[in-house]
Amino acid sequence: MPVVQMTQHLYRFFPQLANRTITVPAGSIAEVLRAVNEMAPGFADYVIDEHGALRRHVTLCIDDTIVIDRKTLSDRVPESGTVYIFQALSGG
């Protein structure tokens, strides 16, 4: 099953996700985020906006590849894949 790794910054808001291996069913990025949101209600709101699009300052990768479809999150995550959730470089 795919594994989800994320910036530690998100553990501040969702401590239940820290110190564990997060596994989810294979599927689209949108489905992966929904699965994480079930483990930590409210999580998706931190990563996507009200239209389901990736927030501007969030970067998602499947293994080494940055996701292409930031609007509907249709990129597929393979069974052996790892999804990474990063903060984009921004701010001050």
Binding site: D49, E50, H51, A53, R55, H57, Q87
Partner: protein
């Protein structure tokens, strides 16, 4: 008078408590997170903070235990189908008089929850939130759920009901420079005033559109910009396009409203049916962002003047607060205890508040001053605070 001051700062929420005649800061809450507004609901003591997460989207935070613990709420969202007509920063060849031939639409997303306001005691649980891009949200359950006020969103001054289809009127709301940080140029609601006598009577102020009033609980809205004058569009007295920086009112005399506008200080003694320009440039009173009205006397107000929009800092390096007690006919500069040399502070629109005889303001250079005597004298609460976005007595 209040014994609590809440600061919304670039690096979190900072609360000062007045203990044994001195103001003491608590450890910062929401450390590292920009907080653009923080306030206490006088009805039940709930504390509110608007978190302006750079990465994770704007969120409201709520504390029901006096600030000991906070919970993030994620419930303010534009409904599906909420759209607006895109505005762009004026370019050198921008013609403000030219109607846009073909509107460009965008689905609305919340960029910033700019202000929070509390309903009257007769409406427990009623809260308001103003956002960029120009949405007024209403909650009747203490913030658990929120609903977009559609009559204002669908107002004829914004193109009409875009849920139903294409624009039927021209969009007369312009963007606010405060939205540029989010990569857009869209309007924002930063001031919400609920008439303490009548819960259905509400004013909101929009950058950049002006003041808008409802007298029927938000079912209909009308521009209230008569007497307003601007200096950046061809028709200075147009119905729309004004840039209130902040609008407030006197709780004891709610028909007395005060407006620090981009183009001066304006006063109304008839609930915004008419405005009168009361700037006094010779006294330094003209440009600025915040304004505070006295609790009981509608003719008394305070501003923190700044040098013109081209500079946006203290005038001649001397920081002062100006007070009028006669409806803006005269202004008195109050400087005692404030730095009078090499001060480059600017106080942002939510950065000044009054509670009885107490005033407090904080600047974008992290300086906070409090007065216990209606501004006659000031003491410094801190010089090394983060940039201050909002100051509110609790």
């Amino acid at each position: 008078m209040s014994d609590m001051i809440l600061l919304g700062t670039r690096k979190g929420t900072i609360i000062f408590d007045r203990i044994h005649s001195s103001w003491r800061p608590r450890p910062i809450a929401h450390a590292g997170i920009p907080v653009c507004y923080a306030a206490r609901d006088p009805r039940d003591g709930t504390l509110w903070a608007s978190l302006d997460h750079g990465h994770w989207g704007p969120k409201l935070a709520r504390s029901r235990d006096g600030g000991a613990t906070w919970e993030d709420l994620t419930s303010i969202k534009y409904p599906a189908g909420a759209r607006y007509i895109v505005k762009y920063l004026p370019t050198p060849d921008f013609d403000p008089a030219a109607p846009s031939a073909r509107p460009e639409y965008a689905d609305a997303s919340i960029y910033k929850i700019w202000t929070i306001a509390f309903g009257p005691a007769s409406q427990p649980g009623r809260l308001y939130a103003g956002t960029i891009p120009g949405g007024l949200f209403v909650s009747d359950d203490g913030g658990d759920s929120w609903e977009l006020n559609r009559p204002l969103w669908n107002h004829e001054s914004r193109g009409g009901d875009l849920f139903a289809g294409d624009a039927t009127t021209e969009n007369r709301w312009h963007g606010t420079p405060a939205s540029i940080d989010y990569g857009v140029f869209e309007p924002g609601i930063h001031s919400i005033l609920v008439d303490p006598r009548d819960a259905d009577h509400v004013h909101v102020a929009v950058s950049t559109a002006g003041v808008i009033e409802t007298t029927d609980g938000g079912r209909t809205w009308a521009a209230r910009n008569s007497g307003m004058l601007m200096d950046y569009l061809p028709n200075a007295a147009a119905d729309w396009g004004h840039d209130p920086h902040f609008v407030t009112g006197c709780p004891g005399q709610p028909d007395h409203l005060w407006q620090q506008n981009h183009c001066g200080v304006f006063y109304s003694d008839d609930a915004a049916r008419s405005w009168k320009k009361v700037s006094m440039p010779a006294a330094g009173v003209h440009f600025g962002f915040p304004i505070a009205a006295d609790t009981n006397d509608g003719r008394t107000a305070w501003v923190v003047p700044a040098r013109a929009d081209s500079e946006r800092m203290a005038i001649d390096g001397g920081l002062f607060v100006a007070r009028t007690t006669d409806g803006g006919q005269s202004w008195q500069a109050l400087r005692q205890g404030l730095p009078q040399g090499n001060a480059y502070d600017i106080v942002l629109r939510h950065g000044l508040d009054v509670a009885g005889d107490r005033l407090c303001f904080g600047s974008s250079t992290g300086n906070v001053y409090v007065s216990e005597d209606r501004g006659e004298s000031w003491q410094c609460l801190g010089n090394n605070l983060p940039p201050v976005y909002s100051v509110r007595f609790g």
